[in-house]
Amino acid sequence: MEDTIVAISTSLGVGAISIIRLSGSEAIKIVNKIFTKNLSQEKSHTVHYGYIKDNKEKIDEVLVTIMKEPKTFTREDVVEINCHGGIATTNKILELILKNGARLAEPGEFTKRAFLNGRIDLLEAEATMDLISSKSEEARKISINTLTGESSRLISILRDELIQIIGNIEVNIDYPEYEDIEQLTNMKILPFIEEFKRKLQEIIDKSEDSKMIKEGITIGIIGRPNVGKSSLLNALIEDEKAIVTNVPGTTRDIVEGSIIIDGVVFNIIDTAGIRQSNDIVERMGIEKSLKIIDSADLVIVILNNNEELSEEELDLLEKVRDKKHLTIINKIDLSSKIDRSKLKDTYIEISVNKNIGLDKIKAAIKKLFNLGELKTSDLTYLSNARSIALLHKALKSIDEALTEIRNNSPIDIVEFNLKEAWNYLGEIIGEVYTDELLDELFARFCLGK
């Protein structure tokens, strides 16, 4: 048997309840050590009320569900602890479990076990991971579509188109003297491959939109101290009635909160105020803020209407020019000291305190990300990073094929690239090499001695 793994299986801090899940032969034994009730003789698939305790100290009031193998997600013994969503409490319970012999699960390890134990297939495994991590209603719909095989169908259609060309070339190669079968030449397949590339590109574009919907868009708010970064953040969040959390990441930036606009999650990152500083700690913070410009999907630069533009601010505006960004002038209720002629971009004038212009910001965001006309209206596109990476690989192979066609390379070399693309597409839907190709050959062409 494998060792017992544990993880917080809900997004930390997002819901009112957190679920901690264990899987493995020791799962029940471990939880038993920190639970007020004896679980060792309990039946499978039962729920138990009680407290998690650290020695005698009660940590949280919880519900514990025990599920014994094989009828569980991983086909191992599984225990789930429903606790009250606070970060500190959830972390405390996790620590206790780790101390009592479980190992922290790697990302996706539960699903991996389910897959390895034959509980689910590869595509289901991926879709399930997506489902678990889906952050909004829209994302949930995409996940369900994957489960029902909509996106598999899309890829299958593309593959079928490609296999017809590949099959024909293979026949030309294996039966070179059958003149009554069309001999495919580079010139003959060029228009088809160009059209194929266009279709593939379209799927990639839509899939990337789809990914955006699911994983969310990162917004960095940046500006000098006291220009109103925090109040803008709070105002946006307040307006959407989203949950505000303070989750300090070890390596990640500080996500102050998330808002949802038209079903898309926007994760807003607060940054340290930008100014000249001799303080080392503060300078490190400022460095980090500047890095946000590179990593965020959207940068909002806030200026203070009541102060003159500083050199740093002009630098900042220059730095964000090539990125998706919004320039905002806050505090328009106060007297204007900004020389607006120095601003090269359009800007939005607001007053967070007087609640002026917030709608304009949201409208601008919507426009920047084409939220009104996201291509994924039917939500059948592939959305996880692995699938998209494979789509890109397939596209690269198609590009190689086009290059070889234009160089007038031998058809076998062109086909090599087409086959590669076909295999990448197959990997997305979990098709490994089978006798598919041979069957295609014999079904479609009349061959033989």
């Binding site: 086909r75 160089n407 390379s409 090599f416 041979l438 014999f442 033989g448 001695k449």
Partner: protein
């Protein structure tokens, strides 16, 4: 023991097996039904073809004989797919059906350790699941350490023409009546297969003016790496191309129920090859096609039979007459031999190991059509490997197992023993996932060191190979050194010939001529170097992919593994693993019905219980 090795059957597999075994110094007996039928070609008069031509090169590189015998007896030679890419180029020879067996018999008779005997093997001597010899139809027992069965289509074979079924082998030869039943008795599962052959026509009755002539290539080629050719490119025999007519189609459709396969016989269970359909199959399955291509091929310079390639059928004789006469130029043709289909027994090839030794009886090897393949080349290469591995077994050495990235022979044997087959198996380039590595040009680079290591390839040939290899290396190094300056409209660039050759439109011969380079190398060496340089990127890519797969090839599965103890395997996977007994994880992953999750489970199990 009377002999160390007995080879049963004198076809293409049997000849290679017997020669390999005896050349490796083992006292060998070849038993055949009729010495006059040794190495005959009962079907098409050609050797090679796409993929198959490369197999012949591989046989030669390992030290087998098919390549040289073909070189000495061919009457036309063609390089197929010349422009379609370096990996798919392949030789095909039209071979003289009289000269080929005669030449092969000559080679066999030169072998000091080999004796040929006429006889019909009907049973085996088996003790403790191990072979001890064979029993002939006249009751004579001959003992040996190893037996190699290369029985071709002779196991309980039936010739089918129209509504008649006759128990007979090809050439009206006596088939083996009991051997397959006896194999069943020892525990083998028997497979019934079918193949067919077209009619032969008297040359003088054909009006060739109505056909399209197909000549051989105006350039010398050889299968053998000795590069010694025995034919004259100006005296090659042509083939001829014609097409079926509306009349042909009409005759076939009207008489369909008279064909053995379409109702003429109602007891047909055997499976025929998809790539070798009868003409009635083609007309029924591709009914929208107006005409089908037919080649007229000469069988020999010593007699006048013309083989009608593409026209195999199991129609009754009178319908065959009508069908043949519906073909352009054949209106008055005289049929010398009628077409027929033949049914025969084979064993399920999943019952043999990658060394070609059977799993059921130790020291019993099988090769060729008995293993479910079709084709002279497919048979010959298995015979060669069975002969080599039989000898290695006697010498207590590890068997020679070729990997899928090393040889078409490796692909063929791995497919057979891992996936099995339901129809007669023919090699196709599309079966080889690493075909860019398995080229005509590099067959010796891939296999001659192995042929030498197992003690089959002669010292002389090996030295010749080493010399060529050195020349290839030398030329590549020189091309890296030599700089050329190329002027285009835009700019002048200086680069090494090595770099310049990567340009898809460049050619080494042209570069040498243009820049007057002093490089004196054989065509063979220049071609090899050019391919290695020009396709380096692709070759490296395939090599990386193959290495990735090879890792799994090295993860051995202990032969004593009990799959019932591996928890969580899907039941289909468990059953297949038990049946195939894969040697390693790589082979296991290629078994149909064994999924990646099963492989992961198996790996976990192996790690845990065998500490690997």
């Amino acid at each position: 023991m009377d002999y160390e090795i007995i080879v049963v059957g004198g076809g293409h597999a049997g000849c290679e097996a017997a020669i390999a075994a005896s050349r490796k110094g083992h006292k060998t007996l070849l038993i055949t039904g009729n010495v006059n039928n040794i190495a005959t070609m009962p079907c098409n008069p050609s050797v090679g073809g796409t993929a198959k031509g490369i197999i012949v090169r591989e046989i030669d590189a390992l030290g087998g004989v098919m390549g040289e015998v073909t070189d000495k007896t061919l009457i036309q030679m063609k390089m197929l797919n010349y422009a379609k890419g370096p990996a798919v180029k392949s030789l095909r020879a039209q071979v003289d059906k009289i000269a080929y067996p005669r030449e092969m018999l000559k080679v066999l008779r030169q072998e000091k350790n080999l004796l040929i005997k006429e006889g019909m093997v009907e049973d085996l001597i088996v003790k403790d699941h191990s072979i001890r010899g064979v029993i002939l139809s006249d009751g004579v027992n001959i003992t040996s350490n190893i037996v190699i069965l290369t029985t071709g289509t002779y196991l309980k074979s039936d010739i089918l023409i129209g509504s008649t079924r006759t128990r007979s082998g090809p050439h009206d030869e006596q088939p083996s009546l009991h051997l397959s039943d006896n194999l069943k008795k020892y525990g083998f599962n028997i497979l019934r297969l079918k193949t067919g052959t077209p009619p032969r026509i008297e040359r003088s009755t054909i009006d060739f003016s109505r056909t399209q002539k197909e000549d051989g290539d105006p350039k010398y080629y050889t299968f053998s790496h000795t590069n010694q050719h025995y034919y004259n490119i100006y005296r090659q025999e042509p083939c001829y191309l014609i097409y079926t007519t509306d009349e042909t189609k009409k005759i076939i459709l009207e008489n369909l129920n008279k064909s053995s396969m379409y109702g003429g016989l109602d007891d047909i269970t055997a499976i025929g090859p998809r790539y070798c359909p009868s003409i009635e199959d083609k007309i029924v399955r591709f009914s929208d096609k107006e005409k089908h291509q037919i080649f007229l091929e000469p069988e020999s310079r010593y007699y006048s039979d013309i083989y009608i390639q593409g026209f195999s059928t199991s129609m009754p004789r009178n319908i065959q007459e009508q069908m043949v006469h519906s073909l352009p130029g054949l209106e008055k043709a005289k049929i010398l031999k009628y077409a027929y289909a033949i049914e025969y027994d084979a064993i399920y090839p999943t019952q043999i190991k990658p060394s070609l030794e059977t799993k059921i009886i130790e020291n019993l090897f099988t090769a060729g059509q008995i293993n479910g393949t079709s084709g002279y080349e497919e048979a010959a290469c298995q015979g060669l490997l069975a002969g080599i591995n039989a000898a290695l077994k006697l010498e207590n050495k590890e068997p020679l197992i070729l990997k899928r990235n090393e040889a078409y022979i490796g692909v063929l044997i791995d497919d057979l023993v891992t996936k099995g087959t339901k129809e007669p198996y023919r090699m196709l380039t599309s079966r080889a996932e690493y075909r860019l590595l398995l080229r005509h040009d590099n067959s010796d680079l891939r296999l001659s060191p192995k042929g030498y290591d197992v003690g089959l390839l002669s010292e002389e040939k090996y030295q010749k190979f080493l010399y060529k290899k050195e020349k290839i290396y030398e030329l590549i190094e020189k091309l890296k050194e030599i700089k050329v300056t190329i002027d285009t409209e835009k700019r002048r660039t200086t680069m090494s010939v090595f770099e310049y050759l990567k340009n898809p439109t460049s050619s080494l011969k042209e570069i040498i001529a243009t820049f007057h380079l002093d490089l004196d190398y054989t065509d063979e060496v220049m071609e090899e170097v050019e391919i290695q340089i020009k396709y380096e990127g692709y070759i490296n890519k395939v090599n990386r992919e193959a290495q990735k797969q090879l890792k799994n090839e090295e993860k051995q599965i202990p032969p004593d593994i009990d799959y019932d103890k591996v928890a969580n395997l899907a039941s289909e996977a468990r059953q297949k693993l038990k049946e195939i007994k894969p040697l390693n994880i790589g082979q296991a992953s290629r078994i149909s019905g064994v999924n990646p999750s099963d492989i992961a489970i198996l790996l976990v199990y192996l790690r845990k219980y065998y500490h690997e």
